[in-house]
């Protein structure tokens, strides 16, 4: 399969990149990892006239913890999250998520920022970023702004990004002590999009009850869905089978699945309930320090 014709430019600075994007308006697309964009070009689901390749811009491939947050640059690859010791030990939700995205070869090219900027409800990082309380740093021709992950996704393949804007960095607040997270995904085979998936991030009080809960759902709606009522329900409660079961039921109620070849609406909603319970159980165990890193 051959894409439609396009011009290709590879600027060496972010300023040049956003200037090029502004010049071409909605006709240009940003090429980073290319693992979503290039298949879409080949299938001719997208036919931009210009590709602005940001891979030649130096200094954007970092994953580092500083100033109380994890910073992920625009060109950091999914594989870097799997290799990063700080991610594996302190951000298990993020490590879980990277591990089930596409396959290991695709993860050598695919970028984390691209995964969120693409706005595909089947992508896995959007829900994870919402559960983690992440913020996205966005650079456009007229300046830089920061948008919370929970406010970023507008609709199917639609985000708040303007045509001349690039997600240059993801900032995830460092979890306080007694925190843990987990991502639970059901996929039909390696590399498939989720039938459904649930991201959970918990912080416990010193005395045991839940202090903060972040819960978000993948591929059961036009956007990732924050399960706000389940989050609110858990705060101040002990994390046991009863409360986790109740929160999982509330998370399932927040889902807006549609029937497709991966399953019926009813099946997917119940799957969210089961996956939410598993994610919350694992997150709670990790928050208690019972398991530090990704399992399996």
């Amino acid at each position: 399969m051959i894409p439609s014709r396009f011009d290709y430019v590879a600027p060496s600075t972010l300023d040049d990149a956003v200037t090029l994007l502004r010049e071409h308006g909605g006709e240009a697309k940003v090429l980073s990892g290319g693992q979503s964009l290039i298949p879409m070009l080949k299938l001719r689901l997208a036919s931009p006239t210009v590709l602005v390749d940001i891979n030649r811009i130096p200094g954007l491939d970092y994953v580092e913890e500083r100033d109380g947050a994890l910073h992920i640059g625009a060109l950091a690859r999914e594989a870097e999250l799997e290799r990063s010791q700080v991610v594996r030990s302190r951000y298990p939700l993020l490590a879980d998520t990277a591990h089930v995205i596409a396959d290991p070869i695709v993860r050598n090219s695919a970028t984390i920022c691209g995964n969120v900027a693409h706005g595909d409800p089947g992508n896995d990082h959007p829900a994870t970023m919402i559960a983690l309380g992440a913020k996205f740093v966005i650079r456009g021709a007229s300046g830089t702004r920061t948008v919370a992950a929970r406010d970023f996704f507008v609709g199917l393949f639609t985000t708040v990004l303007e045509p001349d804007e690039i997600v240059t960095e993801i900032v995830i607040p460092s979890p306080p002590p007694r925190s843990g997270g987990a991502y639970q995904k059901l996929e039909r085979k390696v590399g498939d999009f989720a039938t459904a998936a649930v991201a959970a991030q918990l912080t416990l009080d010193a005395s045991g009850p839940c202090q903060r809960a972040g819960i978000a759902l993948t591929n059961v709606g036009a956007t990732p869905i924050r399960a706000a009522s389940a989050e609110a329900y858990l705060v101040g409660k002990p994390l046991d089978a009863t409360t986790i079961g109740e929160a999982a039921t509330m998370a399932a109620s927040a889902a807006e699945p549609v029937a497709d070849r991966r399953g019926s609406e009813e099946y997917k909603r119940d799957l969210v309930r089961v996956l939410a319970a598993r994610a919350l159980q694992t997150a709670a165990r990790r928050a208690r320090g019972e398991t530090g890193t990704r399992e399996g």
């Binding site: 439609s4 090219s109 590399g191």
Partner: protein, 175 residues
């Protein structure tokens, strides 16, 4: 539509070419450079038949433009054999019957090569995880995993440590 002069080092040899921006890396490798060991399978980045090494890490060359490889080093299956001697990964696939039709084999071997360069003693689970983006539809994965284990042993210089079942299978295969 723009065209670009690119310089890509393939299997240690520098190649300059004028390419269309939309030319996929796999077509550059196969059609421009005539290195047809790299296969095109699904053409949608699922199957891994087109896997090559880009600066020592596997990528699917059907999902990358040739122009993106400008200035980078590529390794393909043709680069494995050196001076008439099979690479240990190739020898492993031969010894353990790691292929039947051979279609997935070049991509499978490039992924295995990168794995063993970064991890000289992978567990079976690590091998299966590493090749999870390379699909085989005929040999089955059992012999492919054995082949990679064989190569790992040879590369560590401990081929004598192979399990007895492998030795038995080898005898059968060569009988």
């Amino acid at each position: 539509m723009s065209t670009h002069t690119i310089k890509v080092t393939v299997n240690g040899q520098a190649h300059s070419a004028e390419v269309e921006s939309r030319l996929l890396l796999v077509h550059h490798i196969r059609d421009t450079l005539r290195l047809t060991g790299t296969h095109i399978g699904c053409d949608t980045s699922h199957c891994g038949a087109c896997t090559v090494l880009l600066d020592d890490y596997p990528v699917k060359s059907c999902t990358m433009f040739a122009v993106q490889a400008d200035g980078h080093a590529i390794r393909t299956v043709e680069g494995l054999e050196q001076g008439g001697a099979l690479h240990p990964v190739q020898a492993g696939f031969k010894e353990e019957h790691g292929l039947q039709c051979g279609y997935c084999t070049p991509g499978m071997m490039m992924t295995a090569t990168a794995l063993l360069e970064h991890n000289t003693n992978p567990t079976e689970a690590e091998i299966r995880q590493a090749i999870s983006g390379n699909l085989c539809r005929c040999t089955g994965y059992v012999n492919i995993v054995k082949a990679i284990q064989h190569a790992a042993g040879a590369m560590r210089g401990v081929s004598a440590a192979l399990p007895a079942s492998s030795a038995a299978a080898k005898t059968t295969a060569t009988a």
